[in-house]
């Protein structure tokens, strides 16, 4: 636990330094150029620091021997929330009061409709048994219009909130054994485990 805590702190610190050092943001991410730089820097820093995880695992004798798989775990598990949440928190902190003050009733209604649409379509698609999606992979794109709507109308803060709800719902469904990211049979999983 000590190792993971130190590793986590080092990862956050290096990511923060990387983004700060190269001036990607100055309290403001609501800009395409800065967003692209932020994504590039955060990806590079996280990818670099993610190598620390397999090394820790090897040193403490835990985890699988597949270093490449462990590295991908470390990279994606950390990168995903950075991309989903960090811009929203940063912008929400700097502009949150202003955004709330200026938000009209219509925008609040839009937010509610978008969240309801995302949850409804998400449960409808990702709550299906895995084999049910096999013949209709296009169903995966049903939530996309709602995310586009959030991106265009609600900005980065609204998109962050919407995407967080979408990501949690997708993960919860996958944990419950539903959706396209779960193989059809437990036997498939056990084979995958034994062979990995």
């Amino acid at each position: 636990m000590t190792c993971t805590t130190i590793y986590d702190c080092a990862l956050r610190g290096s990511d923060g330094l990387s983004v700060r050092q190269f001036g990607a943001i100055n309290g403001d991410l609501g800009n395409l150029r800065r967003s692209i730089i932020f994504v590039g820097q955060i990806t590079a820093a996280t990818a670099l620091m993610a190598w620390g995880w397999p090394l820790i695992q090897i040193s403490v004798g835990y985890g699988s021997d597949n270093i490449w798989l462990e590295w991908r775990h470390a990279l994606l598990s950390n990168l995903l929330p950075f991309l989903i949440l960090t811009p929203g928190i940063v912008l929400g902190s700097t502009r949150g009061a202003e955004i709330i003050k200026r938000a009209s009733l219509k925008q609040w209604m839009e937010m509610i409709v978008i969240l309801a649409g995302l949850l409804g379509s998400g449960i409808g698609v990702f709550g299906l048994k895995s084999h049910a999606l096999g013949n209709f992979p296009a169903l995966l794109y049903i939530p996309l219009p709602f995310l586009l709507w959030a991106a265009v109308r609600l900005g980065l803060v609204g998109l962050s909130l919407s995407f967080l709800a979408f990501a949690f719902m997708t993960m919860l469904n996958a944990l419950a054994g539903n959706g396209p990211f779960v193989s059809q049979l437990p036997a498939d999983n056990i084979f995958g485990y034994r062979c990995s």
Binding site: T5, G27, R72, H73, L147, A151, A174, F181, G192
Partner: protein, 212 residues
């Protein structure tokens, strides 16, 4: 128990030698009448390797399949296998990136048509006349600690069974945002608060798991 029917699975082995997958529609019992599945559920929940003591069966600690929640032979939940979880994460990243760029582009265009606004710092509400710097820093660190701690508890629900990693770890995003919004000279405070919250949440989670 013997009458329970459903889908069962497990590793069929001769002591430590892996022999194959056990699949069936009935609940198998060992020679001495021990219910293999019930015993496996009991022990796998504690992360141990279980054996009957005879040569009939061993349920290895199958991290990527669900042996912990079996009720009347039905598989109720099934943790995501690691490779499939990676696919899910890639899928989400592939969606969020273009959406994020689109949102940033739209905000940029909106800003061009509006009056240029002043960007207020993260702890602007605490600054200046009302609160001292140290107090504002402390309040921000406490708020971040709470966000990190409660975020971690939620995140740990998504932890990969076979590793310490969660499929999604938003608590880190909270900490990173705090670092980005504050000058580097104050980072040690936030890193310390994050580390404490991390340790407390992890200990609470793993203790509750082991004690379950």
């Amino acid at each position: 128990m013997a009458g329970c029917r459903g889908f069962y699975f497990g590793i069929w082995a001769d002591h430590d030698r892996f022999d194959g997958i056990l699949l069936g529609n009935s609940r198998p019992r060992s020679d001495d009448g021990i219910d293999l599945f019930a015993a496996a559920v009991f022990s796998v929940g504690r992360g141990e390797i279980w054996t009957t003591g005879s040569e009939h069966g061993i349920f290895a600690r199958c991290d990527d399949i669900n042996l912990s929640v079996l009720s009347r032979g039905m598989v109720l939940s099934q943790p995501i296998p690691r490779k499939e979880c990676l696919s899910l994460q890639l899928f989400l990243i592939a969606i969020v990136l273009p959406m994020m760029f689109l949102a940033a582009f739209v905000e940029e265009q909106k800003d061009k048509t509006e009056v240029v606004r002043e960007i207020k710092p993260w702890n602007a509400a605490f600054n200046g006349k009302r609160l001292s710097l140290y107090l504002s820093l402390g309040l921000t660190a406490i708020a971040m600690w709470a966000a990190y701690y409660f975020g971690s508890l939620v995140d740990l629900a998504f932890v990969y069974p076979a590793s310490y990693f969660s499929a999604l770890w938003p608590a880190n995003a909270v900490l990173l945002a705090a670092l980005l919004l504050n000058p580097p000279r104050y980072w040690s405070v936030f890193l310390l608060a994050g580390a404490v919250a991390h340790v407390v949440a992890q200990r609470q989670f793993w203790h509750s798991r082991i004690g379950a």
